[in-house]
């Protein structure tokens, strides 16, 4: 009987969904990250599989997990896993494939619209009795329809963003190290260089993984290429954008606004100037965490375990 150790920061409701979807014959034991280290080491010791959602596993835990056949993440990002150690131990690591892509893509579109329509500031104004204050000109909300949207990273999530935008009559540009000719045709997207994308887009949305080469991908120079009326959305990983450079361009009005679900430091520091900015909409790295995503994530994990049990290669391996 395969044993699964499930280590997570998730709420009891999420844990119940993930444990509840285990196929017959699987034994799943879960621990919250806040549990004592010995307990986590103990449940991993004889586990065939580990399900990890957010946070890190200690080297001790991994070295003691002698039966481990797959480390399965419930997230798309995998920057919290020591891939060198996993390679040394010979244990494959898989992310969650596309199971959170719809949630993240919807959040990216939600943030684009919220920044353009100034939803958060308007809501605060109405509540405080400042009806239409700050809208005195009537010219300071914007339409996504017909604009040029630049998608940085055209993998699973980036492509769903393009799909969600199909009804908005946008020009869709993307940049990626890989070309996706089929998706280009189907979604009406055009592959361009990052520089071209930044110059031409009204909305720039980031959907690349945090690989070493993507750290600081959107830095001072890249931000300076953006249009003064453009907005930037990040639902990928904080360090892909140089946050200090972003804060400067927002402060100086060199771009119009930003929608951010991720930050260089999480939880976000309370003295971060982003917290004071009216043209920024913030979320606590929750883009992918929709109700519907958890059953999809859990189902993906258990299917991957079945593949391993059948001697097949697991899907969505993240090693280079």
């Amino acid at each position: 009987m395969p044993k699964v150790a499930y280590i997570t920061h998730s709420s009891p409701e999420v844990i119940e969904v993930v444990v509840g979807l285990a196929p017959p014959g699987y034994e799943v034991v879960s621990r919250h990250h806040s549990a004592p280290e010995e307990e986590k080491v103990e449940i991993a010791r004889d586990a065939d599989f580990i399900i990890l959602h957010s946070g890190r596993l200690s080297e001790e835990l991994l070295r003691n997990a002698v039966r481990l056949r797959l480390l399965q993440l419930l997230s798309a990002g995998y920057e919290n896993v020591d891939l060198d150690l996993m390679a040394e131990l010979g244990i494959p690591v898989a992310n969650v494939g596309g199971a959170n892509r719809e949630g993240v893509a919807e959040m990216a579109v939600a943030l684009m619209l919220a920044v353009y329509r100034r939803l958060v500031a308007l809501d605060a104004g109405v509540r405080a009795g400042r009806w239409r204050e700050g809208l005195s000109t009537g010219l300071d909300t914007f339409e996504l329809g017909g604009k040029t949207v630049g998608i940085v990273g055209f993998g699973r999530i980036g492509q769903i963003v393009a799909r969600r935008l199909q009804g908005f009559d946008n020009t869709i540009l993307y940049c990626d190290v890989v070309a996706y000719p089929e998706a280009e045709r189907e979604l009406g997207a055009e592959r361009v260089s990052l520089e071209h994308l930044l110059r031409e887009s009204d909305v720039v949305t980031v959907h690349v993984p945090l690989l070493p080469e993507n750290r600081g991908l959107i830095g001072k120079r890249e931000l300076s290429l953006m249009r003064p009326t453009a907005i930037l959305v990040n639902t990928a990983r904080g360090p892909i954008i140089d946050e200090r450079a972003l804060i400067s361009v927002l402060k100086e009005g060199r771009i119009r606004g930003a929608g951010l679900d991720v930050f260089e430091q999480e939880p976000i520091n309370q003295d971060n100037p982003l917290l004071e900015m009216e043209n920024v909409v913030l979320a606590p790295h929750a883009a992918g965490g929709t109700y519907e995503s958890w059953p999809r994530r859990a189902a993906f994990a258990y299917q991957n375990f079945q593949r391993v049990m059948e001697g097949k290669e697991p899907l969505s391996l993240v090693q280079e």
Partner: protein, 321 residues
């Protein structure tokens, strides 16, 4: 030389953008739409056209303008004009839902997503120092793509909402006194009676004009037909929804939340319980606002005046219920 009296709410940049579309030879004068009816009557005396953005236009003002050839509303809604008096005086009235549809539809979709994601509340919590916890995520946020969206009123704006949602793969339903078979085919949307649309939708969005027959059309009974996890979005006119009944449904948790751009009383009353609810997203009746909309509206208005000058029927005529 045709004379246009513009009665406007947002002045300054908005007037400039709209009135910049006046063809040569038009005389255009601008007043705040919030002057008294007596003043309005005085100002419109020799007008050929009235262009009105918000405010009210009673029959007495129309009577003061014997040469009036068209009342052109710069809005989709036309509840502000005494249509019965206009009909009696033989003055045509046009709205411009067709050019406002894109802007309102986009605000509507923005509100759907923001209410489902509770963006305003979550932004507030993050700014207060909270992070991902029971309140701010991650369980219990439904996806729009997995939702059934019910559109009440499938006119210009309702159809544009359905179009904006095409990429979301949501199931689309509508209720309307008129059937739109072409739109049904093009947009993959199905017509059902209002009761069934309310009972089957996760998101209900309202796009009917405010007329005597739509006043309070979403009342206690209709709200009780909605799903417990459902969201209501209203970017049409406040009195279409019975606000007291909506507040009760929200307070009792009988629906998940609401996105409201319009209210029974505007500006929203200081003591309204809506101001204290985390499950709602509020905006100050600006669903139709955007930088580009004013150009579209100005162009539509002056094109319509030109039609009348050429002896053609104006576009987008509205009639009493």
């Amino acid at each position: 030389m045709p004379k246009v009296v513009f009665l406007g709410s947002f002045l300054g940049g908005v007037s400039e953008a709209m009135l910049g579309h006046a063809p040569p030879g038009y005389e255009v004068v601008t007043y705040s739409t919030y002057i008294t009816d007596e003043e309005k009557a005085e100002r419109v005396r020799d007008a050929d056209f009235i262009l009105m953005l918000e405010g009210r236009l009673p029959g007495a003002v129309m009577e003061a303008a014997p040469g009036l050839r068209l009342i052109q509303l710069a809005t989709a809604g036309y509840d502000t004009v005494d249509l019965v008096a206009a009909a009696r005086l033989g003055i045509p009235v046009s709205n411009m839902g067709v050019v406002i549809a894109a802007t309102v539809a986009e605000h509507t979709v923005a509100m759907m997503l923001a209410v489902l994601r509770r963006l305003a509340y979550v932004d507030h919590l993050v700014k207060q120092g909270s992070w991902r916890d029971e309140e701010t995520g991650c369980m219990g946020v439904p996806e729009l793509g997995e939702s059934t969206v019910g559109i009440v009123g499938l006119g210009n704006i309702g159809q544009t909402v359905a179009r904006r949602l095409q990429g979301f793969e949501s199931r689309l339903l509508y209720a309307d006194i008129v059937a739109y078979p072409d739109a049904e085919k093009a947009l993959g949307i199905r017509r059902l009676p209002l009761n069934e649309v309310l009972g089957e939708s996760d998101v209900v969005t309202i796009h009917v004009p405010l007329t005597p027959s739509t006043r309070s059309m979403i009342g206690e009974r209709e709200l009780s037909l909605m799903r417990p996890g459902a969201v209501l979005v209203n970017t049409s006119r406040g009195p279409v929804v019975n606000e007291a009944a909506l507040i009760r449904a929200l307070e009792d948790g009988r629906i998940r939340g609401a996105g409201l751009d319009v209210f029974e009383e505007e500006p929203l009353a200081r003591e309204s319980p809506l101001r204290r609810m985390n499950s709602v997203l509020l905006s100050p009746h600006i669903a139709g606002n955007s930088g580009v909309t004013w150009h579209r509206r100005g162009k539509f208005a002056f094109d319509n005046f030109q039609r009348v000058m050429r002896g053609e029927e104006p576009l987008s005529l509205v009639h009493p219920d």
